[in-house]
């Protein structure tokens, strides 16, 4: 095994081009587990810790550019306003020690359907900035997950950052597990209201071969909110709408039975989380509308 320690992003890209099988390691919270357990013996480890740029973020006018290695702890502490869904999801990642090391780039690189960041990223929308010596490209998050633990990246590419729109409305994240800390999601659900475009977006984790959106549920809810004039009136969403939204979210799942839970349970739980997160986000939206009209 060889340990590559590029000091800059350009050096990292060159190293990855020269050794396409090199395994990038940043927080190490996935890679080191596999090495410790002898599940993986890569010929090259490509350490990204020395590249400072990867641990930085920039808040722009419309978007946040979040470096691939910004640890979850810093997302929770610094980006709760701009990226509320991701900040909530970050808070459910494992433990403080893991959140101090792991970042979104690792979740995206591993592309496990159980990664906690994925539902929040799907609900927010955004793009993954990947680069190789051949050039840079932006992969829409909707096109990023292509199979079980497979993403849309080429072998010589590295993840530099994610570009996420600043939240224009309430966002929520919910996760089912046997306890609060140190738990891999049995299933998870993210919901983002986008009042500016009168749309809603969702993300489902651990309930299909890849993280997925519940598109039928999104379309249904957006249409129901629009037709009923709910965005303007801020009225309570009728239970029938919430119920239908939950059923459609359930229907978007394609889960398996495994040690963490049964397929049937996952479908059920995703429906419950969809209904609850709709309740939480909509209450928050109504609250904002009310205080805006009183002001």
């Amino acid at each position: 095994m060889d340990f590559l320690r590029p000091a800059s992003w350009e050096e990292a890209l060159a190293a990855k081009a020269e050794h396409p099988t090199a395994v990038p390691i940043a927080g190490g919270t996935d890679v080191m587990v596999e090495i410790n357990f002898d599940h993986r013996r890569p010929a090259y480890l490509l350490d990204l810790n020395r590249i400072g740029d990867l641990s930085e973020w920039e808040v722009g006018e419309k978007t946040v550019r979040l470096g691939a290695s910004v640890p979850y702890t810093l997302i929770m502490e610094n980006l709760r306003t701009e990226l509320p869904g991701l900040a909530l999801a970050s808070h459910t990642v494992a433990s403080p020690q893991i959140r101090n090391r792991g970042g979104v780039g690792g979740n995206l690189g591993t592309a496990s359907p159980a990664g906690d960041a994925h539902p929040a990223l799907l609900a927010s929308g955004g793009e993954v900035e990947v680069e190789s010596v051949r050039g840079r490209r932006m992969i829409p998050i909707d096109a990023f997950y292509v199979g079980v633990k497979r993403n849309a990246m080429e072998q010589d590419e590295l993840i530099r950052s994610v570009h996420l729109p600043k939240a224009d409305g309430p966002q929520q994240f919910s996760k089912v597990g046997t306890r609060n800390a140190m738990v891999i999601a049995v299933c998870a659900f993210g919901l983002a209201l986008h009042p500016e475009t009168r749309t809603v977006r969702t993300g489902i984790g651990s309930a299909a071969p890849t993280p997925v959106r519940a598109r039928a549920a999104e379309d249904f809810l957006a249409a129901a909110l629009d037709e009923g004039g709910f965005w303007e009136s801020g009225k309570t969403v009728p239970p029938s709408v919430a119920k239908q939204f939950a059923q459609l979210a359930s229907g978007a799942c394609n889960p398996i039975d495994d040690v963490r839970g049964s397929a049937k349970y996952r479908r059920h739980a995703v429906g419950i989380m969809a209904r609850r997160t709709l309740g939480w986000t909509w209450e928050s939206y109504r609250g904002q509308e009310r205080s805006a009209s009183c002001a």
Partner: protein
């Protein structure tokens, strides 16, 4: 490969390190610092917790090469680390502002030759003393990780709520105590820290 880093304030050099080796392995097997414990090797249990450039991490998940040029504090260096911090910030150890009744009760003659490496015969950090006094140690295997994590919590937050303590220690598993005595120990250390700060008029 060779790795150079600072451990508990001393520059160290490890040779013939295998590229896939963890920081934990280097500490235990090459530096002779077995305080950080090797249990789950997957970041679940927290018994290998150390400070890496001040940040608490599971040393089993840090590749040795990633520690190059960085500063590591293990449980063996915790007392010195706490002492230095107290020196910087006035007082956090309870050792200043005169001798407290607590400290007087705890007093015992100390042997001179503290080697600062194995952790034997050295002064304890306030959190370590609190763990002893509260009976928070049973088999002791989880203790080093808990000490490092709890010490960092009290550094950030001198008056943590129970929720703060539970959150800060949520990455450390203990299978003996049921955690209650551990929570007591952290509260005790926090209270002593507050008392000594108050005694100083700080």
């Amino acid at each position: 490969m060779r790795v150079n880093f600072t451990v508990n304030g001393r520059k160290q050099e490890a040779d013939d390190v295998w590229e896939g080796e963890s920081l934990l392995y280097v500490l235990r097997e090459r530096m002779g610092l077995p305080g950080s414990k090797n249990a789950c090797e997957q970041g679940e249990c927290g018994s290998c917790t150390v400070r890496l450039d001040d940040v608490p991490v599971c040393s089993c998940l840090v590749a040795a090469g990633q520690a190059e040029g960085r500063e590591v504090v293990t449980v063996e260096g915790l007392a010195d680390f706490a002492k230095q911090r107290a020196g910087q910030s006035g007082c956090a150890s309870g050792a200043c502002g005169g001798t407290t009744v607590d400290a007087a009760k705890r007093w015992q003659a100390k042997p001179q030759s503290a080697d600062g490496q194995t952790g034997e015969q050295v002064e304890l950090a306030p959190i370590q003393q609190a763990f002893i006094d509260a009976g928070a140690v049973q088999c002791g295997f989880c203790t080093p990780g808990l000490l490092v994590a709890a010490d960092e919590l009290l550094e950030r937050n001198g008056s943590p709520s129970d929720a703060d303590i539970r959150e800060a220690l949520s990455g450390n598993l203990c299978r003996c105590t049921g955690y209650e005595k551990i929570l007591d120990a952290v509260r005790l250390a926090a209270a002593r820290g507050e008392n000594s700060a108050a005694g100083q008029g700080a």
